[in-house]
Homo-oligomer: 332 residues x 2
C-alpha cells in the first residue's frame, strides 16, 4: 500500500491530469493543470450546471461499497440531475477530500469509477481539487447543454397530464437495507440480491431517455429525477407547477426482485413510494406526447389535477400522499 501522504499534492494532481488529459477534446480547450479549465460552449445552446456531494458515513460507507463504486456513484448522481433537465452532460469537475491514510491504490480505484461513469456518458473530467479531509468526501460538478426550448423544468405540469416514471421503483432502498444487514438471507437467490444491491451501489442515470426523446422530437411537460423517493419528487413537481396529483398505488412499477427480496420491515409499496436512490425519472406529459414515446420506456402512475396530492390505495381508500422520502438533515 502506498499512502497518499507520501505522494504529495502535486503528484496527485499529475496523476489526475494523466487520467483526464488523454481524452481532452472539443469543447474542452484546457483541462487539468492550469488554474482553471477552459471550454467553448456550443453556439446557440444553453448550459446547465449541477453540484452534488457524497460524504463517507452519510451517503456511503466502506462496509459494502468498493472504492470504484463510490467514484462511479458520485458522477452518476450528478449525471442524473442533467438528465432531469432533459440535457446532455458535457464536462465535470470534482473536489476530493481524502483521509491521510488513503492509499494511492484506493485513489486509482476511485478515479477508475469516476472516469468510467464519465466516459460511458461522453463526459470529460476537466478539473479537480484534492485536499485532506477527516473522511472521504467527493463533490462533483457537471455541466451539460441543451437547446433552450428542449429543457424541461419542474414547473411545466398541467391538469390532465399523465404522471409517469421510468424503470422500477424501490429497488435501491431495499438493496441498501439488504447491504446494511451484511449477510444475504439464505432464502434469497443470488440474482435478487445482485439486482437490488446493484441498484443502490451503481445507479444508472437515465440519459438514454433524454436521447430517445430527442430522437423522436418529444419532451415531457415537467421532469425530475427520483433521488429522495417518489413522494418527495411528486410534491416538488406539484409545488413548482402549482397543481395537484392523483396516483394509483396499483400502478407503481415494482420489480419481481423487490417482491421477492425486500426486507419484511417495509412493504414493496413503501419502498416504491419512499425509498431513495432510484435515480429513475418522474415526468408528466399530455397524451399526445406520451403516445410518441416507446411504451416500454415508462409506466403511467397517475394524473395531474388542480389541487391536492392524493393516492388511491389498492383497498379503495383515497388519501393524502405525504412526502416521506429521504431527508439528509432531519435526525433519524
Amino acid at each position: 500500500m502506498s499512502p497518499i501522504e507520501d505522494a504529495g499534492e502535486f503528484n496527485l494532481i499529475r496523476r489526475l491530469a494523466a487520467i483526464s488529459s488523454s481524452s481532452t477534446r472539443f469543447p474542452v480547450i484546457t483541462g487539468i493543470g492550469d488554474d482553471a479549465a477552459v471550454y467553448q460552449p456550443k453556439s446557440g445552446m444553453v448550459q446547465v450546471i449541477t453540484t452534488d456531494a457524497l460524504i463517507e458515513g452519510y451517503h456511503f460507507d466502506f462496509d459494502f461499497y468498493r472504492m470504484d463504486q463510490i467514484g462511479y456513484k458520485a458522477m452518476a448522481v450528478n449525471l442524473s440531475d442533467i438528465a432531469a433537465m432533459n440535457a446532455r452532460p458535457v464536462l465535470a469537475t470534482m473536489a476530493l477530500g481524502l483521509p491521510g491514510s488513503f492509499s494511492m491504490e484506493d485513489l486509482d480505484a476511485l478515479y477508475d469509477g469516476l472516469t468510467s461513469a464519465a466516459s460511458r456518458y461522453g463526459v470529460q473530467i476537466v478539473g479537480g481539487d484534492t485536499t485532506r479531509s477527516p473522511v472521504l468526501m467527493l463533490s462533483v460538478t457537471v455541466i451539460g447543454e441543451a437547446g433552450k426550448h428542449d429543457l424541461v423544468h419542474r414547473n411545466g405540469a398541467g391538469p390532465g397530464d399523465h404522471i409517469c416514471v421510468t424503470g422500477n421503483l424501490g429497488d435501491a432502498a431495499a438493496g441498501l437495507d439488504l447491504l446494511r444487514s451484511h449477510t444475504k438471507p439464505e432464502t434469497l437467490g443470488d440474482k435478487v440480491w445482485d439486482v437490488l444491491t446493484t441498484r443502490h451501489l451503481m445507479p444508472v442515470p437515465r440519459l438514454d431517455l433524454v436521447q430517445e426523446w430527442a430522437k423522436k422530437g418529444v419532451r415531457p411537460s415537467a421532469l425530475i429525477d427520483i433521488s429522495d423517493g417518489l413522494t418527495n419528487e411528486v410534491h416538488h413537481i406539484c409545488a413548482a407547477s402549482g397543481c395537484g396529483a392523483v396516483l394509483w398505488e396499483s400502478k407503481l412499477p415494482v420489480s419481481p426482485e423487490l417482491f421477492a427480496g425486500a426486507p419484511k420491515s417495509r412493504t414493496p409499496v413503501d419502498y416504491a413510494l419512499n425509498g431513495g436512490d432510484d435515480y429513475e425519472l418522474l415526468f408528466t406529459a399530455p397524451c399526445g406526447v406520451l403516445t410518441q414515446m416507446a411504451p416500454d420506456s415508462y409506466t403511467t402512475i397517475g394524473v395531474v389535477t388542480e389541487t391536492d396530492v392524493l393516492i388511491h390505495r389498492t383497498d379503495g381508500i383515497l388519501e393524502e400522499l405525504k412526502a416521506e422520502g429521504h431527508d439528509h438533515f432531519r435526525a433519524e
Copy 2:
C-alpha cells in the same frame, strides 16, 4: 440557537433559494430550485471553470475564523483562480457539508460570507447541495468567461520576460501564525495585527488587475495565483513554460507590517517566498507590455531564463530556489 436538524433539507434549500433568486439575471436563466441551474454563455466567449474545497480542520478552524469569513474565503479562493486565467467570474455553485449540530444562525452567517464575496465581484450563486458531514466542508465551483485570446495560461513565459507579483507577499502566512498563537503580543500594534490576520482570513482575489489589463488592452505572457507560496508557483510556471527563472531576494515585496509583526520563528523573506494563502498574482511579461501597466500595480522580482530556477540572495549567493510552499498532503 436553531439546529439545522430541525429544519429539514428542503427548508435549507428554500432558504438558499431565497438568498440567491432575488439577484438572478442574465446570463442566468434558472437559478436554485430545479435539478440544475441554466445559463446562456455570451456568444463568442470561452468559459473557464474551477473548483476548490475548504475543509474544517485543514483549511480553517473555528478557533479564529468567524462563520462569515469561512464563507467569504471559500468563494474568494475560487475567484482568485478565475483571475489567474485573466477571466471574469460570472456564476458559482456550491456543495456544503454541515455537521448536524450546526445552527441556522451559523448557516445564515456562512451564506452571508459566500454571497457578499460573490456580489462584490458580480457573481451569481446559481446552485447548491447541502448535506450532512462530520465537519464543515465547502466546495465551490466558479464559472467565468473571457475572450479566447485574452486568456493567460501558465505556459506562456519566455526567456527575457520579467517576473512580477502584485501586492505584498507573506502577510497571510504570518497572520495565520499569529492567529494560531491565539493572543496578540503586547509589543504588536492593533494595525499590524489586523493587516496580517485579515490577509489570512479574508484574501482579496485580484480581479482588479484583470479589469485594469482589459481596459489597457494588455495581458501577461504567463499568469498564476499565489495560493501555496511563491516558490511553488514560480516552479509551476517554469515547468509549464519549459523555462528557468532568476529571482532577487532583495526585490521581494514585503509589507512594513510583516517586518514589524512576523513571528520570530521565520524570517520575513521566508514568509514571502514560502508562505501560503496570499492570493496575489504572479505573472511574466516582456518589457513592452510591462510599461503599459500601472507601475504601482506590481513589483518586478526576477527574469525568465532558459533553464534552472535560481535566487540571488541579498548576501550575494546565487542558489537553487526550492519549491517549499504549502503541500496539502505531505505529513507535517
